[in-house]
Amino acid sequence: MAGTVSVKFYGLMRRRVERTGLEVPADGVTVLALLRLAEERAGRTFLDELLDREEGLLTGTIILVNGENVRLKDGLRTRVRAGDIVDLFSPAGGG
């Protein structure tokens, strides 16, 4: 079996999905594909917390791959490998 990517949910995402994270069997897929796989595996939809209707990242959405923001890479087309950790934060603020 191929390896897995660890997907972690924070903030409002966590309440929506009702879990802190899950392991998604994936290797070499895009972040967008990974998110869809994660939705399937979680049995809950959550993409609307992160993306707009055109599947662009909402202002304030943070997706980190191994701590690096995908906005500094290829956005939702960033490829993830087995063993990677993906952190998902719906828009948040404070101070």
């Binding site: 409002l12 980190l64 719906s90 603020g93 404070g94």
Partner: protein, 589 residues
């Protein structure tokens, strides 16, 4: 008059005299109110910097033209020279107190002198009465507020000091409406030095609105924008500000054990998500606020307000403590004693590193959650280890021979974002007019949170200009006065519109920004007179010399020199950081 009342009352506590002053239309147009007008009046009253605790020093409580009107407009700005930093300082507090001052018929108070014994000010129907506060001296902030409300009427709003302010701890807070704090910069100590225990305000004077129909329409539009925005309409409501714990930790820039590491292994256990699951009783809101970021919480022993993001960090990761109940109870104690939680935690972090390094063998030790309450209490009363903690980190570390271990700028402790993880935030800390503060230019918004645009946090390109712009906008919001969190939902054009419907005056975006620039430059001028210059626009050596070894901020250092000259150039200041004559002329200073 629309917006403003046009009346500011000057009180001389030494003589017991009061006098009404009208600052005039021009000053209102050029400085608005709040921080801007407060700094202008302060600079006129104290052109030569005074000892912050001397009776000659002035202390101002200011409202703004928007105070008491639209959403989030209950705030107050307190202005003086800080006993912690020696810089000009304004400290902002939420709650209802600002709206109450306006309702009592005044735009603000200017307080000088020193009362012969404890007093409080009662503001009502445009009049200010000096009352005996002997019965309240020595009481904590909660008992003080309760007692004064019994005397002044339950509908009043009270701002007061606790034991820390009475004992002139240089990071004593002023607390109002139970647990809202003008926390940073120690202006509670200035109150204590004046024997001023509290200010109570009440009244039903409605703010005159220039364009009632436009006001109503704008209020519903801003309400919709706040509701639609995922931060103001959802995240802050449900999870409060501590939602940032996991966000900042995941970026490897969550300061841990006095900024020695950027990842706290127990972050999850002290996060906003965890608070919501464990301590949270209900959310709480300030005057006319649709956001409601406040947290009313309870532990097994007590209930109270907080902890919010900065406090959960200051007493948590910063001290190697993951006991959420102990953190909350330390927060409650700071509220009661009247202490700034950020400087309290920052000083404890410094003390713990000093202790570990052998520079203060009797000092507090990492992770001792069970002693937090004792340390906080001793600080407010300046006894035991608290006698030294009450110095604040800069003076404490200098006294112990290790000044580099104080994580401060200009004497104010840096809050919960490690500057190695965000270069713009580093420049913001270094150039803040009141020292190590995140609120002058909150660069975490673009550099981490992606508001209003996303920027590369490790790049220095363009950061100088943006920091200056953010500083100017913040000065406008603090002068109008509104809550900064509104900025997640609306921008400067909306603030101009709010000012128009309330005051009837048209402000272009450019004019508002020039007001912000004027305020920032005036603050800088005062600081220059007080001896601050380029050498003070810096950070502790740790941020230039030491790197994290793990996490996504590893192997990074602050590159301040790449930004500082450009920042001064953007500001129209000389290479020593002093405003140039041409800049002053352009701003009418």
């Amino acid at each position: 008059m629309n917006g403003w009342t046009g009346k500011i009352v000057k009180v001389d506590l030494s003589r017991g005299t009061r006098e009404s002053v009208d600052v005039g239309d021009s000053a209102r147009r050029r400085y608005l109110g709040g921080r801007g007008l407060g700094v202008r009046l302060y600079a006129d009253l104290c052109p030569v910097p005074k000892d912050p605790l001397a009776k000659e020093n002035a202390l101002l409580f200011l409202t703004g033209p928007l105070t008491g009107t639209l959403m989030t407009s209950g705030r107050t700005q307190v202005v003086s020279r800080s006993p912690l930093t020696g810089t000009i300082c304004d400290s902002s507090s939420g709650g209802n107190f600002g709206a109450a001052l306006k309702g009592a018929g005044i735009d603000g108070l200017v307080i000088q002198g020193r009362a012969p014994g404890p007093v409080y000010l009662r503001v009502h129907e445009g009049e200010v009465e000096v009352r005996d506060a002997s019965a309240f001296w020595g009481l904590d902030t909660q008992k003080t507020q309760k007692g004064i409300l019994e005397e002044a009427g339950a509908r009043a709003s009270v701002a007061c000091i606790g034991p820390a302010g009475e004992n002139q701890v240089p990071f004593a807070a002023i607390m109002n409406d139970k647990d809202r704090a003008a926390g940073r910069g120690g202006l509670g100590a200035v109150m204590g030095a004046k024997n001023l225990k509290a200010v109570a305000a009440s009244g039903n004077r409605a703010v005159d609105i220039a364009d009632p129909a436009g006001y109503k329409d704008l209020a519903s539009r801003v309400d919709r924008a706040v509701d639609k925005n995922p931060v103001t309409g959802k995240s802050l409501q449900v999870l409060g500000t501590s939602v940032l714990v996991n966000v900042i930790n995941a970026h490897g820039m969550y300061p841990t054990e006095n900024f020695r590491r950027g990842i706290f292994n127990d972050a999850e256990g002290t996060s906003g998500e965890k608070i919501a699951e464990t301590l949270l009783l209900r959310q709480s809101s300030c005057f006319k606020c649709p956001i409601g970021c406040g947290r009313t919480t309870r532990t097994k022993n007590k209930h109270g307000e907080g902890p919010e993001y900065e406090t959960v960090w200051a007493f948590g990761a910063n001290l190697g403590i993951s006991d959420l109940a102990a953190i909350a109870e330390a927060n409650y104690a700071c509220n009661e004693l009247g202490l700034d939680t950020i400087t309290m935690g920052g000083t404890l972090g410094c003390a713990m590193e000093l202790a570990e390094a052998g520079a203060w063998p009797a000092g507090p030790k990492w992770g001792e959650a069970g002693r937090l309450l004792e340390w906080v209490t001793e600080t407010a009363y300046r006894r035991g280890v608290g006698a030294e903690l009450a110095l604040g980190s800069k003076r404490l570390a200098a006294k112990r021979g290790r000044p580099e271990l104080a994580m401060q700028v200009k004497g104010m402790e840096i809050p919960a974002y490690d500057p190695r993880g965000a270069q713009g935030m580093a420049l913001s800390y270094a150039t803040s007019n009141r020292g190590g503060c995140h609120m002058r230019a909150y660069m975490i918004a673009p550099e981490v949170l992606g508001h209003p645009v996303f920027l590369d946090r490790f790049s220095t390109a363009g950061k100088a200009e943006l920091v200056a712009l953010f500083q100017d906008i913040s000065a406008v919001v603090d002068s109008a006065i509104l809550c900064r969190f509104l900025q997640f939902a609306v921008g400067i054009s909306t603030f101009a519109e709010m000012l128009r419907v309330v005051t009837g005056l048209d402000f272009s975006d450019e004019e508002l920004l020039s007001i912000g620039r004027r305020v920032y430059t005036l603050e800088r001028l005062f600081n220059a007179k007080a001896g601050f210059g380029r050498a003070d626009d810096t950070l502790p050596p740790r941020f230039f010399d030491e790197e994290f070894q793990t996490g996504s901020s590893r192997h990074r250092r602050v590159r301040l020199e790449e930004m500082l000259d450009e920042y001064y150039a953007v500001r129209g200041w000389d290479p020593d950081g002093r405003p140039m004559p041409q800049t002053l002329a352009e701003l009418g200073l």
